[in-house]
Assembly symmetry: D2
Homo-oligomer: 336 residues x 4
């Protein structure tokens, strides 16, 4: 049994992670932390009533490392990187949900997050926890950067196409749509029910912090800097992300079949990526760790459409997948 | 033109009221107040962009009364009654959305609201602004107590049946269901989108503050104290209230037809109450000042089902209806 | 491995059942039937893509019984009872989702369903598959009547209270609210998205076919005929049922604590029933086989509030629970 | 008073139109047609109960023209053009909601709609009823082609920018998102509540019939053929369309301010188009005839984001606006 702790356990990714880990035969949850909260976990997350008897605690990193071999950090950016060094020093392995270790440059981090990175020395040496693309780097790691939800939905369809030169890296438009759970569980006017129900809107146009994360990973595959145009939108639903990508062929003569074949070949052995003929809906993958992708050609453009559950493949499912890789378990354990 | 002010103009009832008043040919909105807000009204309510050019101001009652003949107070309970005396003294007429003047006893108010009433002397002398039942009292008033949303949905079907002895006052069960806008616009965990979307729950069982308001008004019609069992529930939708009432016949031999006839007779001349054969849905009255009612007999019980839009007939539409009565306009002006 | 067939596999309960059974270590799904459909299951249910490779077939009962030891029938009422005799004769065990074997009287069936029962001789000899109340009858059975969704939500809170005399059987009011998946997957105007979204309505007032099913089971526990007043309502959400019950004490001096204690004692050992202090929301049990119950006293009434997921504990989860009992597996297998 | 008829009165655009026309001081609705329906209008549209007493009738065009000076046709494509000639011959003026007269080429119509146009001679001579762009052509017309919902949301932001050369016509990507009412009121599996609730999907990728309509009108303004990439998506909400357009500058040195200024100048006098600084949400214009537009620059791209209510500015509100122009009324009558 691996003892695990979850830091910042009051939010939606945390409760989703707890539910996944409760199904895992080799996991014991030993600590849940929160700065403010001393309530039992089922008061904070009523859906856990009768399934887990733990209280949230305000624990110092050293205490956490005493209790748990593996730590899932659901803390916000900067908060995570402030305690990661101490946790690592105390011997814990960490799967970090925040953006802190997803970029490789302290300068880029500073530009997009507006703060100096608390642990700049590690940037560039932390595997990006998207196993479909970086599987070999994960098992030996002590720290894994769990990907952002939008980046997962955008990178999975595009990376294989960039790698094969099927699409050009210079002109990538990503129009993404997400359910409201992606905005977190802190009460805010913008995510109040009567504000976002029966409404649809864009937000963070040109400024969303997932942009440099997408650019960084796509650049690795395209061999050349992408500068994606990324526009997120809020959909009146709990969970799900759909990303419509508008792309240019990277060479002449590309047909829709070539795009689909490249995707199918690349993901043939992947348990969580399905390349499908029909247009996927977010509901098709709701509650699962799957990503579904299809492609079309329209005029002189290639389009890909991809769907994930932002709380599962976009966060907690990916974290469990990384956990399985870290500890040598079957990658699908607790996820199918 | 009547100059009007709206106090506490940041919420859902205020914006609904503004939209109604903008259609009113004899109204000019001259002041919108908020304790904290100096923003323009279209920043606070984007749907008003281009329709109204006013900023929210933190105005003292005297200032308000200088600007407006009629004041709509959307302030919370106790806040309203604290400034009503000064507004009245300054010559304003007031339509109060709060619960402050709906009860007739300071003791009952203290019991349910947990605070001493700031203006106890007026209790019992303020007309209850449900024109269908108290029309004659309104035109001459300087202060009107605008009814609560749940009470409106419960009292309209029951008052005529109590008056005629068709139902017994001793055994009244009200199971009410409301859209989320009824919970206000202040960010709260319980009304965050992912908390109440795809969910249904009861709240305030046995303790909701609309209970004594319903009891008070029904007692006037039944001639004898009712002690309603009132259970509110939250529906994942923006607006609408449906109340299912479980009642006992007040005399023997009552058939469904008798109940429907009594309702039809009572409301025959009312522009905003429709007694219908089919089961009404909240959507049938959404955005309107209508109340739809039907009745059935099941076993030894009489059931009524009534629907309103909580923001219109349950709040701002009723307020406009009262305004029309106060100033001698056609009661339906701006409401049809 | 137990080979299982699912009859009528195009609907919402069928796909929920398939997902549960795919997690079951001792089940192999060998046949899915549909009268009209020859499509692969992932065309009919896109969320199953990559998880199950079967096509829907129009199979005669004899063929079904050749393929499967256990048959789950998701056929409509009367369609099920028309083929059950042949399936039983061919040696299959059957878990029937329809209402066909839930009542014990052909006359009552005829009255509520408007058709003569196709297999009247078996009525009264088929266990009602609510294991929490009828567990001992299930393991030896060849045919189990899987309970209705509303009845499950109503019977679980009330049966223990009737048994202990805590509530009176003569005056039971059930106000139920269900998500739209309960209305099935056949395109109908009433369940079209823009018809039921942003709306709330009652339906089947006094005439819903689950009424005699509730009465029959409650009568077994109350020792005396109940004639429940049952009112279902449609909530704009996919899944979930909440039932608010208005009850009278069965003896004097009953306090809220007595009601809660009786419920807690009765369900102390049950894995899927949680008696909770706080008011439960349907979301707390969404996607689970749990039923959560609480009780309150208001005035002279006892109230219970219970929630289930209509597709899980209200249908397919209960069916899997019954399956586990039939074959001697741990009752919670594939369900936690 | 102008007598008006509505053909195909059972759908969502028809009921929206009826509600608008009931507020119009110079309109009397004299006929509502439906091929199959003889029900009263309030049975078909319960929200009209008590507001309009008409039954739906299966009327021949000659009969319609006897009853009404102006005919609103909500019939599907081809059905409309089959009766328009007879209605015109009988002296009626027609506002046609179908696509029949929006294109100017029978060949293009045949290609996208798969049928020969029933009235090809009129194509190219019917004004496109988007008053903001074609106002001068409408007053004298006997037949107006009411625009499609998606085209309205796409053309209003782009036409002024093409006209000024601010954007290039060769590379226009339109990512549109619509509420479910746009799919009509005929029961279909795809728009069943549990299918599209809590889900988001694209449809008609590269094949949606609004594409040639958008191309045709934009070409008029860009002076050169556009071949837009248009991708519609379905949002789990009743009403609203948001279109995110990804554009290239038509000349060098274009700043965001230039784009906004061009839009502001173009629409300065328009009552129903608001150019706004903040990102508009569909809810901001819900229930109104407004279109709100903003623009941004991101990287080397210009983005516009526009919102309308698909049932109002995208259909019935635009029709009423055209009606006002046809008959010389204030264009905003019944619409503000």
């Amino acid at each position: 049994m691996i003892s695990v702790a979850i830091l910042g356990a009051t939010g939606y990714t945390a409760v989703e992670l707890i539910k996944i880990l409760l199904r895992h035969p080799h996991v014991r949850i030993t600590a849940l932390t929160s700065r403010e909260d001393g309530r039992s976990v089922d008061q904070v997350h009523p859906s856990l009533a009768g399934r887990l008897s733990l209280s949230l605690e305000n624990l110092a990193p050293a205490k956490v490392a005493c209790r748990a071999e593996c730590v899932f950090s659901c803390l916000p950016h900067c908060a995570s990187a402030k305690i990661v060094p101490e946790l690592l020093a105390a011997g814990a392995r960490i799967i970090d949900f925040s953006a802190d270790y997803r970029l490789d440059s302290p300068g880029v981090f500073q530009k997009w997050y507006g703060e100096d990175h608390p642990d700049p020395g590690r940037l560039g040496n932390v595997p990006y926890g998207l196993p479909e693309l970086f599987r070999s780097e994960i098992p030996g790691a002590t720290l894994v950067a769990n990907p952002g939800c939008y980046p997962t939905s955008a990178i999975l369809p595009l990376a294989p196409l960039l790698k094969e030169g099927i699409i050009a890296p210079e002109d990538v438009i990503l129009d993404s749509k997400s359910g409201v759970s992606g905005a977190g569980r802190k009460p805010k006017m913008t995510t109040l029910y009567p504000e976002c129900n029966e409404s649809f809107a864009a937000y963070g146009v040109g400024t969303h912090r997932h942009t440099p994360e997408i650019d960084r990973v796509l650049t690795l595959f395209g061999g050349k800097a992408t500068n994606v145009i990324f526009t997120p939108h809020l959909v009146p639903m709990d969970r799900g992300i759909l990303t419509t990508a508008y792309l240019r062929p990277g060479k002449s003569g590309i047909r829709a079949k070539d795009v689909m074949d490249a995707l199918r070949d690349f993901y043939a052995a992947e348990p969580f990526v399905q390349v499908v003929e029909t247009l996927p809906a977010t509901k098709d993958v709701s509650g699962t760790n799957n990503c579904r992708i299809t492609a079309r050609t329209v005029g002189d453009r290639i389009l890909t459409i991809s769907v994930i559950d932002n709380l599962v493949k976009g966060a907690s499912g990916a974290a469990a997948q990384n956990f399985n890789l870290l500890y040598g378990f079957d990658e699908t354990l607790a996820l199918i």
